[in-house]
């Protein structure tokens, strides 16, 4: 009784740690703490599970601790090594595969439960077990496919589902049908149908993810993540385990909203991502000044800038047209205030008159020592973290360096491509004064 209360309490604490951890995770300053808090919550939850009262027929069961610890150590070891070894750039894939494994775990639980108790299950219990099975299954194969696509093992075009919406609809119907059938033949060949059900779910996971293209993958992973959260919650319902229920639902809910947010950040709707498949819509900023203001108040870039060491602003005629010099200065002040080294790279012909940028930046009160001319800028660029090009074009055109057919071949330009990151703020992909395309904008 007392033990039970203590485990209950531990679960409660774990659940609160999940909630609070997620909360901390959503702000950059506290995110790390949040992750650790959630991990602590998980440890508490797992620890408490050893003392949970379980319904065994045999009171003297040794609880099979060897199996458990074996699994924990093996899984933990694999996870740890994988997480430490993975390249920074391969992290989304890693997340995807981890997520798939979580889904698989739910599948296993659903299977075990159905296998053990199918014959005398009530509707509710059956429903819950099937839910864990199906959602976990979809999350499993879907995540694996997403992983494959991101790793480049599987090309976007490898798996082509004809009429994907119709096809997926048929699969869904198949899942429901076999579930109903399995329930009706509970005592006879139910388990066979459960396996059919599982198979369809696994296929569904693949056909669900297959039509979705590379850039949209993170959105899909997030969605699959919310699926595996739901499958965990379903599994929790099987065992009436509060921490699983709360944790699962929490992930389900926050994963869903996160998916929506990610779509919004890409200026797309979720439906568009899921159905549209390979869509050509790009980022698409606003126009003119608005465009610029919007872009640079963008949370994302802002934080990237905030945590960088050196930023170079490259103003061009577009800055002048948008009269964005003040906005640029504000950004500068903000970053400088945070210890970021902000400089301006002034190309000799930027703008439409000699000294155009000087006039504007002086108007915005940018101190002279922050202005670098071509040579100084080019020697500073390789050690610059982020370059922000504000309405410049010709003056950062790599054609001047490497394309002898270009009309500006031979002109010294700002070699912004030597910096770690380049952000371009302009209204469109249209060319500048010299009328030539800038291949820079077609890199990544």
């Amino acid at each position: 009784m007392l033990l039970e209360s203590i485990t209950d309490l531990a679960y409660l604490v774990g659940a609160i740690a999940f909630v609070w951890g997620l909360r901390l995770l959503s702000s950059p300053d506290s995110a790390r703490k949040g992750n650790i808090l959630a991990a602590i919550g998980m440890a508490i939850g797992i620890g408490a599970t050893f003392f949970v009262k379980v319904h065994t027929g045999n009171e003297t069961t040794p609880n099979n601790l060897v199996w458990i610890f074996g699994g924990l150590i093996a899984g933990g070891g694999i996870g740890w090594v994988a997480a430490k070894k993975v390249q920074m750039t391969a992290m989304p894939q890693m997340v995807s595969i981890f997520n798939g494994l979580g889904g698989a775990c739910a599948v296993v639980l659903g299977l075990a439960e159905l296998n053990n108790a199918l014959s005398d299950m009530g509707g509710g219990a059956f429903f819950i077990a099937v839910l864990a099975l199906v959602i976990g299954g979809v999350a499993f194969t879907g995540s694996l496919l997403a992983f494959g696509k991101l790793e480049g093992f599987i090309k976007d075009s490898t798996i082509r589902v004809p009429q994907p919406q119709l096809f997926n609809f048929v699969l869904l119907a198949g899942i429901i049908a076999s579930a109903v059938y399995a329930f009706m033949h509970q005592t006879t060949d139910g388990m066979t149908w459960v396996l059919v059900l599982l198979a369809i779910s696994l296929v569904y996971g693949i056909t669900f993810v297959a039509p979705i293209g590379g850039a949209d993958m993170p959105v899909v992973i997030s969605l699959l993540n919310s699926f595996s959260g739901l499958s965990a919650a379903a599994a929790g319902l099987i065992y009436g385990n509060n921490i699983m229920i709360v944790g699962g639902i929490l992930v389900g809910a926050s994963g869903t909203i996160l998916t929506v947010l990610m779509c919004e950040a890409m200026n797309r709707s979720l439906v568009n991502v899921l159905i549209g498949g390979f869509s050509a819509t790009g980022g698409g900023a606003g126009t003119g000044e608005d465009g610029i203001a919007k872009e640079i108040t963008l949370n994302d870039l802002a934080i990237q800038l905030y945590y960088s060491n050196s930023v170079m602003i490259v103003p061009g005629y577009g800055l002048a047209v948008a009269q964005a010099q003040k906005v640029a200065k504000e950004l500068d002040d903000l970053l400088s205030g945070n210890g970021v080294d902000v400089k301006y790279a002034i190309h000799p012909v930027a703008g439409r008159m000699p000294g155009h940028m000087n006039v504007l930046l002086a108007e915005a009160d940018v101190p002279y020592p922050k202005l670098l001319d071509l040579e100084d800028a080019n020697s500073a660029l390789p050690s610059t973290d982020i370059v922000i090009i504000v309405g410049a074009n010709d003056v950062v055109n790599p054609s001047a360096e490497d394309d002898p057919s270009s009309s500006i071949y031979g002109m010294p330009v700002l070699k912004v491509w030597t910096a770690a990151h380049v952000v371009v703020l302009k209204r469109s992909m249209s060319p500048g004064y010299a009328g030539i395309q800038n291949p820079l904008f077609f890199h990544d």
Binding site: S27, G75, N99, L101, N309
Partner: protein, 104 residues
């Protein structure tokens, strides 16, 4: 119908809890900045590894000679543990970039 009603009444508090948890999940996430999308997803993913608890329970309540269940449970524990440990560890690595500099 009746069973639904009775289910509803029996699990009223659970339903409250679920709904409030969902709202809380929304609320907690709704203002997250774009850069944190991936770490947050990764962190949430690690939390969804809570399903491992089910696998542990599965093993604990299995008969020592019920090797099918034990094996299933073992697989579940391994999978879940990879998810949990790997998930938190990867998230932590992702978040490393944010510790670098705090306001001076």
């Amino acid at each position: 119908m009746d069973s639904i009603i009775s289910f509803f009444s029996d699990h009223l508090l659970m339903i409250y809890l679920l709904i409030f948890t969902i709202i809380l999940g929304f609320e907690v996430i709704s203002k997250v900045p774009t850069v944190l999308h991936t770490p947050l997803m990764s962190g949430a993913n690690a939390i969804s590894g809570v399903v491992i608890i089910g696998a542990i329970i599965l093993i604990r309540q299995a008969q020592p000679d019920d090797y099918l269940t034990l094996s299933l449970g073992l697989i579940g524990v391994v999978l879940g543990m990879v998810n949990v440990v790997g998930g938190f560890a990867v998230t932590d690595r992702m978040l490393e970039m944010f510790k670098k500099k705090v306001k001076k």
